[in-house]
């Protein structure tokens, strides 16, 4: 298991990314639109922090339980980050589609109004 231990690096980077995820998640409270993303980010951040913590512990203790806990948390991190990415993509798609739908709706109203005006003018003329 010594070979495994030697390959574990970048723990500080993982902790840095975890802190950023948690802080970003906490800041999302200021906007209702991105609160779901913030919640997912906090879960992901906590799991990533735990992954880094257990990997660090494993490096010191070489305890199998620590490595198992690290992988358990890593799997959870992947799951939450996956959902975070998925929800982000859906929100981006909505942001792109909604204005088009809105403009289409406004367009339909304008066409309807023009039609109404023309038919009113037509009937008053006869």
């Amino acid at each position: 298991m010594k070979i495994l231990k030697e390959n574990i690096k970048g723990i500080k980077w993982a902790k840095f990314v975890a802190i950023l995820e948690i802080v970003r998640g906490a800041l999302s409270i200021f906007s209702i639109f991105i609160i779901p993303l913030g919640v997912l980010g906090i879960f992901a951040g906590v799991n990533l922090w735990n992954t880094a913590k257990y990997l660090e512990k494993y490096k010191n203790t070489e305890s199998e339980e620590d490595l198992k806990e690290a992988f358990k948390n890593l799997s959870e991190y992947f799951k939450w980050m996956g959902w975070l990415n998925l929800v982000s993509l859906i929100l981006i798609a909505l942001l792109l589609i909604l204005p088009i739908l809105f403009m289409g709706f406004i367009g339909l109203i304008i066409i309807g109004l023009i039609g109404l005006i023309i038919s009113t003018l037509g009937s008053s003329g006869t």
Partner: protein, 157 residues
């Protein structure tokens, strides 16, 4: 003694397998990172073109510097994201291989790629924070310039 150690190792490798899940999600994140990274490059180039056009207006040097620095960082983020995505894809692949073959080499490879992924994604975050700071400073400077202009026109000076 050696036999006992070897058996313990096999048992451990077997039980560890049960804790490795969600590699599908990892691959999905990797694809999003790579696609996002690829998209960042044309966005960065467009920002440089926009910056040079804004430079000809009254916004001048602030707009040029802010847009060129931000654009460079966006392109850099794109490249870093692509590398991080590839590393994460390799991690997921190695983990999947490990769950099938139980070879220690695969686990070693997965941990190595995961460590690299954390490093690259850490740099992506550093670059993103730098862009946020530049954008904030540029907005403040442009706001101050705008306020100065309004004050001079309205005679508030």
């Amino acid at each position: 003694m050696l036999q006992r150690e070897s058996n313990l190792k096999i048992n451990f490798m077997n039980s560890l397998k049960g804790y490795i899940k969600e590699t599908g999600w990892a691959k999905f994140i990797a694809v999003v990172d790579i696609v996002g990274g690829i998209l960042d490059i044309p966005i960065g180039i467009s920002l440089i073109i926009l910056g040079t056009k804004l430079g000809r207006t009254n916004l001048g040097a602030v707009a040029i510097i802010a847009s060129i620095v931000s654009a460079t960082l966006i392109i850099l983020i794109g490249i870093l994201l692509i590398i991080a995505g590839i590393k994460l894809w390799s991690t997921a692949n190695s983990l999947e291989n490990y769950t099938n073959t139980e070879k220690e080499e695969d686990l070693k490879e997965a941990i190595k790629n995961l460590s690299d992924y954390f490093t690259w994604i850490g740099w992506v975050n550093v670059a993103s924070l730098t862009i946020s700071a530049i954008v904030l400073i540029a907005i403040s400077l442009l706001g101050a310039m705008g306020w100065k202009g309004i004050s001079s026109i309205s005679g508030l000076d």
